[in-house]
């Protein structure tokens, strides 16, 4: 009795948890039980459709040959977790090399793309500067046409980029969309601030580095993720321009492994001797491909909306 009275005292009531539902507006009806249940069910199904396959892939990659045989293939319930598949893959063979190549191409490519894009976006963000409209038009126009696969292929090959990692970076280094997002964000930064810096004697590079970029961390994070995911996911340029199997990045090795069911070089021995399941190997490669993306994107996620909308449908 005494406790329940205490609960009704406003001063004694705990502050609502930050995840708690906000108060309902007075005019809105209480949701019906059936409505809530239906909504919850729909949302759960949608999320499970994403999570369930990933769960299967991860669990199977961590399963021993015995568990996989018992399950008759893919494993749903983890039992006897083992890292043998990963240990084999990272033993310095084809997959290890491919992973390192992918990581390096992603790092170098993202850095390059970001540098060029940020510079260009800042250069175009000072509206009214000489030729800025023309330059903008030149960039914008590329969103409407593509020169075509064959001419681009012939050009890259003529430039001597075939069988070079530059072919994985240069032809698709820029996304005009990303530049526009950056530009419209930069344009939103208060002009007074930039003027003040300029009066203090800062040049454009300095303003960009010390004023604009620190103020744009959120959008820089989003665009960096977009570029990084682009490089990490790319396989087509490699299949076009690289002939040397030893140069292939992870996605291309994954195609051979998972789609064409070819065992990676040097691993077929371990699979044949029976201690390793080919299925676990395939799954482990898939986990390696999805891991960096799945780990990084949630951190940047809260900025997606802002980034997507500032640049989305805007000249």
């Amino acid at each position: 009795m005494w406790e329940s009275r205490q609960d009704t005292e406003p001063a004694q009531r705990k502050a609502p948890h930050r995840w708690a539902a906000p108060p309902r507006p007075a005019w809105e009806e209480e949701p019906s039980k059936a409505g809530l249940a239906g909504k919850g069910l729909a949302l759960t199904i949608a999320c499970l459709a994403v999570v369930f396959p990933l769960w299967i892939v991860i669990v199977t990659s961590l399963s021993s040959r015995k568990t996989i045989d018992e399950a008759g293939g893919l494993v749903m319930v983890p039992k006897g977790i083992t890292f043998i598949a990963y240990r084999e893959l990272l033993n310095g063979g084809q997959v290890t090399r491919a992973a390192i190549i992918s990581i390096l191409v992603t790092l170098v490519g993202t850095l390059f793309s970001m540098a060029v894009s940020v510079l260009c976006a800042y250069g175009l963000s000072r509206v009214g500067s000489l030729a800025h409209r023309w330059i903008l038009m030149v960039l914008l126009a590329t969103m409407f046409f593509s020169a075509g696969l064959i001419p681009t292929y012939l050009l890259v090959q003529s430039l001597g980029l075939t069988d070079s990692y530059l072919a994985l970076i240069l032809p698709s280094a820029l996304s005009v969309f990303n530049i526009l997002v950056l530009r419209s964000f930069f344009m939103g930064i208060s002009q007074e601030l930039i003027d003040a810096a300029r009066i203090d004697g800062a040049g454009d590079f300095r303003v960009l580095w010390q004023i604009v970029m620190p103020l744009s961390r959120a959008v820089l994070a989003v665009i960096t993720l977009f570029y990084a995911v682009g490089y990490w996911s790319a396989w087509f340029n490699a299949s076009l321009y690289l002939n040397d199997q030893d140069m292939m990045p992870l996605q291309n090795v994954m195609i051979q492994l998972v789609q064409r069911q070819e065992a990676p070089v040097g691993l077929s021995q371990a699979i044949r001797t029976g201690q390793l399941s080919g299925l676990a190997i395939q799954m482990a490669v898939m986990v390696m491909a999805l891991l960096p993306v799945a780990v990084l994107s949630p951190f940047v996620q809260k900025h997606f909306k802002k980034g997507m909308l500032t640049g989305a449908v805007k000249g």
Binding site: V116, G123, V138, T152, Q191, I199, G203, F304
Partner: protein, 344 residues
């Protein structure tokens, strides 16, 4: 965008470059002003750093987006890749054949098959994919608990960042001949099922993969539109006696209409591109009858068969029709009072 010729920043007035501007209010520096015309030379001196900054990007775009346009001349050539190991030299020495490549294409049933597949895929994707992000956004928007919202969004966004290779691999493990579904069927005494290599359902498979990968990502723009609806519209509707569903019909949906219309228009402008990487990866599994689209047709004839002139001609047809579609789509967007991809 203003055609401003005034100094882009008031601070410029303090630099050695003499600017004839007498008074500039700081915030108004970007606005058009009558006075303050600068000579081209002065403006160049003032803005040279900015132009320098855009240079790397412009160079990249000129080399990799504009220069290849010239390469489309191979569409009018009997291009011989073996003349030289440099594509440009080969282009210079290949004989012109006029419209022969195009003639061959129009008589090629494989091309028309690719056209047909492209259009069928486009329509199926439009009908079955497009409504899902809208529905998901409505669902998420109706959730009031911030934690549920945050988790659901995090989960639904995730597949957008997976590569097509991975998405297809996941589908293969779930629905392929040795996948989870077949495994379950067999364990229960039925025959296994290989959805991944069935030409009859290929279009639906492609659409399902697109939905899995990108429907969650597509809700962002709708959620933003929903967030911008003023709450008092709902309140006013409720006061007038509109129930939950009527408020959805008369307040929520009208708020989404411009976004839906715009995205539809833009999608139509992109009709001939139906997922190149995704289809290329699965083309061999289902055969070209079902799995060949315009983009893969170009890839096959050019890169694989080394019939560059022929492939470039097909690519050129696709490119020209696409530009027409994009321009038309933007025109329609403008007529509807939307901004489109570019401004009027």
């Amino acid at each position: 965008m203003s055609h401003s010729t005034v100094p882009r920043s008031s601070a410029e007035a303090g630099t050695p470059v003499k600017t004839p501007v007498t008074s500039v209010d700081v915030t108004g520096a970007r606005k058009e002003q009558g006075s303050g015309k600068l000579s081209l030379r002065l403006r160049f001196r003032r803005d040279r750093v900015l132009i320098l900054m855009t240079l790397p990007a412009v160079l990249l775009v000129l080399v990799f987006n504009y220069l290849p346009i010239l390469g489309n001349v191979v569409a009018f050539q009997d291009y011989d890749p073996y003349i030289s190991d440099n594509g440009i030299v080969s282009i210079l020495h290949s004989p012109f054949v006029g419209l022969e490549n195009f003639q061959r294409i129009f008589e090629d049933s494989a091309f028309w098959n690719a056209v047909q597949n492209t259009l069928v895929l486009f329509i199926i994707q439009l009908v079955l994919f497009f409504p899902i992000p809208v529905l998901l956004a409505l669902l998420i928007n109706s959730v009031v608990r911030p934690r549920v919202r945050a988790v659901a969004q995090a989960v639904l966004y995730l597949p957008h960042f997976f590569s097509w290779v991975l998405v297809i691999a996941v589908f293969q493990q779930m629905f392929g001949g040795a996948g989870m579904l077949s495994q379950l069927l067999r364990q229960n005494g039925y025959d296994g099922l290989d959805i991944m290599t069935n030409p009859d359902t290929f279009a639906y498979l492609i659409t399902a993969q697109s939905v899995w990968k990108d429907a969650g990502w597509g809700i962002i723009v709708f959620l933003a539109a929903l967030a911008s609806v003023p709450q008092d519209h709902y309140e006013a509707a409720a006061m007038d006696g509109a129930g939950r569903w009527r408020r959805m019909w008369h307040v929520t949906l009208p708020a989404l209409r411009p976004v839906i219309a715009l995205l539809l228009v833009l999608r139509v402008g992109d009709a001939l591109t139906v997922g190149f990487e995704q289809i290329l990866l699965q083309r061999d599994g289902v055969g070209t009858n079902a799995g060949e689209v315009l983009d893969t047709f170009v890839w096959w004839n050019g890169v694989r068969n080394q019939d560059f002139g022929y492939a470039a001609a097909a690519g050129l047809i696709k490119g020209v029709v696409s530009i027409g579609l994009v321009l038309a789509a933007n025109k329609i967007a403008h007529l509807m009072g939307e901004q489109g991809v570019y401004e009027k």
